[in-house]
C-alpha cells in the first residue's frame, strides 16, 4: 500500500517539472524588456541594462529555467513581481484562499446536485425525471459561465435584491459565484453519472443481486452505485481543475479578489513573474487534487487496491 502511495506520488514530479517548463517557455516568448517593465518608461537605459544583468534576465534560457526551478523548490521563491517588487508567492498566498473556497464549494455543490440527479435520471430512464434534467444539462453545457453569472446577478441581486452581486465579505457573497461555477459542472457530472449508472444497471451482477431477492433500492444503492461512481470519482478531480480555471472568469464577473482576478490584472500589467507563478501554482494544485483522487480511487476499488498489495 505504501508502495502504491509513494509510487503514485512520485509520478507527479515529472509532470510538475513539465508543466513548469511549458509555462516558463510560453512566457519566455513574451516580447519586451523585463528591466524596462520594472523601472518604467522614464528610467535610463543604463539602469535598465544593469537591472537586467543583476536579475539574470540576460542569462541563457536553460540557466534561467533551472535557476527558477531551484528557487521554487528550495525556497518557494516564485520570483518577484515587476509591479510591486514583492515576492509573488506572498501575493498568491493572500489571494488563493478565495479561489480555493470558491472552487471547493462549487465542486461540493455540483456533486450534491449532479450525482443524485444523474442516478435518478438513469433509474427512471425515459421518464420526466430523466428528460427534464437531461434537457437542463444540455442547456447548461452550452451556457457561458460568465453569462450565467451575469444573469444570476441581474435576477437575484439587481431585480430581487436577495443577494449581494460582488465582493467576498460574508458567506452570502459566495452564493451567486458558487452557483455560477457549480451549475455547469453539476450538469457534466449528471450526464456522466447517468451514463455510467445506465451501463452498470445492465450488468450481470445487478441481475444476480435481483435474483437474490434484493429490493430495488438495495440493488441501486448497494450494488450499482459504488460501481457507477468509480469512474465519476476520477472525473471529480478533473472537474476541480476545470473549476479552478473557471474561477478566473467567475471571479472577474463577481469582482472577487482571488487568484483569477489577480492573474487577469497581472496580464494587463505585463507582470510576467506573477502570471508564471499563478499558472504553475494552479496547475500544481490541480495535479495534487488529481493525485488525491487517484489515491482515494485505489482505496475504494478492490481491484486496484489488490494490484498494489501484492
Amino acid at each position: 500500500m505504501i508502495k502504491f502511495v509513494v509510487g503514485r506520488t512520485l509520478m507527479i514530479i515529472p509532470i510538475l517539472l513539465g508543466v513548469t517548463f511549458i509555462v516558463f517557455t510560453i512566457l519566455y516568448l513574451t516580447p519586451g524588456d523585463p528591466g524596462r517593465m520594472i523601472l518604467g518608461p522614464q528610467a535610463e537605459q543604463i539602469a535598465v541594462d544593469m537591472l537586467n544583468e543583476e536579475m539574470g534576465f540576460n542569462d541563457p534560457f536553460f540557466t534561467r529555467f533551472f535557476a527558477y526551478v531551484i528557487n521554487v523548490v528550495t525556497r518557494f521563491d516564485f520570483g518577484t513581481s515587476f509591479r510591486t517588487r514583492q515576492p509573488v508567492f506572498d501575493e498568491i498566498l493572500i489571494r488563493f484562499p478565495y479561489t480555493l473556497r470558491l472552487a471547493t464549494a462549487a465542486v461540493v455543490v455540483a456533486s450534491f446536485i449532479g450525482i443524485p440527479i444523474g442516478v435518478l435520471s438513469a433509474v427512471k430512464q425515459y421518464s420526466l425525471a430523466d428528460l427534464i434534467p437531461r434537457a437542463i444539462s444540455m442547456f447548461l453545457a452550452a451556457v457561458p459561465l460568465f453569462w450565467l453569472g451575469l444573469m444570476l446577478i441581474l435576477t437575484f441581486a439587481l431585480t430581487l435584491g436577495w443577494l449581494p452581486s460582488s465582493g467576498v465579505a460574508t458567506w452570502r457573497h459566495y452564493i451567486l459565484p458558487v452557483t455560477t461555477s457549480a451549475l455547469p459542472t453539476a450538469a457534466g457530472l449528471m450526464r456522466m453519472t447517468r451514463s455510467t449508472m445506465l451501463e452498470t444497471i445492465r450488468q450481470d451482477y445487478i441481475r444476480t443481486a435481483r435474483a437474490k431477492g434484493a429490493p430495488e433500492g438495495r440493488v441501486i444503492f448497494k450494488h450499482a452505485l459504488k460501481n457507477a461512481l468509480l469512474p465519476v470519482v476520477t472525473v471529480l478531480g478533473g472537474s476541480f481543475g476545470f473549476l479552478l480555471g473557471g474561477a478566473i472568469v467567475t471571479e472577474t464577473v463577481f469582482a472577487m479578489p482571488g487568484l483569477g482576478t489577480m492573474m487577469v490584472n497581472a496580464i494587463r500589467m505585463q507582470d510576467i513573474p506573477m502570471v508564471l507563478a499563478a499558472t504553475i501554482f494552479i496547475a500544481t494544485i490541480c495535479c495534487l487534487v488529481i493525485l488525491m483522487v487517484d489515491l482515494a480511487y485505489g482505496f475504494i476499488d478492490p481491484r486496484i487496491r489488490a494490484k498494489f498489495l501484492k
Binding site: G18, V23, L27, P31, V143, P144, L145, G245, A283
Partner: protein, 287 residues
C-alpha cells in the same frame, strides 16, 4: 471502387439515422440558419452599422428600428451580433479544424508507430492536459498579446491534447485488428495503410469529438474575450460584447440577452449534432 461504394452507403445509413434524431436536426437547422446569416451578413446589414456610433440612440431597448436594441455607443446590436457571429463561428471552426489537424497527426503517428515517439508525444500531451485549458490559453495570450490571431493559437494549443489522445486511441484499436496485420503482410505501405484502412475505421469518434468541440471552442473564445484577453473592441465579438454589456446590466439588460443567446444557441446546436452523430455512427451506444 467497391470500397468507395460501400463507404457511400455507410454514410447514407448514418445520415438516415441522423435524420430520425429530431434534436440533432434542430441543431443542424439552427447552425445552417446561423451560417447563412453570417455568410450574408454584409447583405443583411452592412458592417459599418456595427461600428457606427450614434449619440442620440444610446442604450435603446429593442424596437422596430433596432430589433435587438442599441449599445452604449448607439451601435445597432443586431448588426453587431450578426458580424460578431462571423468572428465567433470562424474561431470555432478554425480552432476545431486546426486542433484536429495537428492533434490528429500527432495522435496518428503516436498510435501507428508507437515506441519512443509515442512515449514523448503522449508525455507532452499529459503535461499539457494537467494545466486547466483556460489557464493555458490565458498564459499563451499573456505571452503573445491579446488579439484575434493569438486567441486562435491559444485555444488551438489548449485543445490539441484531447484530439491527440482521441486519435491515438482510435488508431490503436484499429491497428491491433487482424486486417491491418493482413495488409502489412501483403506489403502495403504505411501511408496506404493509414489512409485506406485506419482512418476510415477510426473516423467515427473523431467526427463526433470535432463537432462537439466546436461548441467548447466558441465558449472558450467568448470567455477569453469577456475577460479582455481575446478579440479587442471595437470588433463585435460575442464575448467582448457581453463584456461591454456588463457595465450597463442595470440600465440596459437587453445588451446581455442577444449576444448571450447567440452563444448558447450555437454551442447548444453543435452539442446536439455531436450527440446525434454519436448515436447515428454507433447505434449500440444509444441509451
Amino acid at each position: 471502387m467497391e470500397s468507395k461504394r460501400k463507404k457511400q452507403s455507410q454514410l447514407r445509413e448514418v445520415w438516415r439515422r441522423l435524420k430520425k434524431d429530431k434534436t440533432a436536426m434542430v441543431g443542424l437547422f439552427i447552425i445552417i440558419v446561423f451560417a447563412l446569416a453570417v455568410i450574408f451578413a454584409e447583405q443583411i446589414s452592412p458592417f459599418h452599422n456595427a461600428i457606427r456610433q450614434s449619440g442620440e440612440h444610446r442604450l435603446q431597448p429593442p424596437s422596430a428600428d433596432f430589433i435587438f436594441g442599441t449599445d452604449a455607443f448607439g451601435r445597432d446590436i443586431f448588426t453587431r451580433v450578426l458580424h460578431g457571429g462571423r468572428i465567433s463561428l470562424s474561431i470555432g471552426f478554425v480552432t476545431a479544424s486546426a486542433s484536429l489537424l495537428i492533434g490528429g497527426l500527432l495522435g496518428a503517428m503516436a498510435g501507428f508507430y508507437g515506441g519512443w515517439g509515442d512515449e514523448v508525444i503522449m508525455r507532452i500531451m499529459d503535461t499539457l492536459m494537467s494545466i486547466p485549458s483556460i489557464l493555458l490559453s490565458l498564459a499563451i495570450v499573456a505571452a503573445l498579446g491579446a488579439n484575434m490571431t493569438n486567441l486562435l493559437i491559444a485555444i488551438t494549443v489548449a485543445s490539441i491534447p484531447a484530439f491527440t489522445r482521441l486519435v491515438r486511441a482510435s488508431v490503436l484499436t484499429v491497428v491491433e485488428q487482424d486486417f491491418i496485420e493482413a495488409a502489412r503482410a501483403c506489403g502495403t505501405s504505411d501511408f496506404r495503410i493509414i489512409c485506406k484502412h485506419i482512418l476510415p475505421n477510426a473516423i467515427g469518434p473523431i467526427i463526433v469529438q470535432t463537432t462537439a468541440s466546436v461548441s467548447g471552442m466558441i465558449l472558450a473564445a467568448a470567455a477569453l474575450s469577456f475577460i479582455g484577453m481575446g478579440v479587442q473592441p471595437p470588433q463585435p465579438e460575442w464575448g467582448a460584447m457581453l463584456s461591454e454589456a456588463r457595465e450597463f446590466i442595470r440600465t440596459a439588460p437587453h445588451m446581455l440577452v442577444f449576444p448571450g443567446f447567440a452563444i448558447i444557441l450555437s454551442a447548444l446546436s453543435f452539442n446536439l449534432i455531436g450527440d446525434g452523430l454519436r448515436d447515428a455512427l454507433d447505434p449500440r451506444l444509444k441509451d
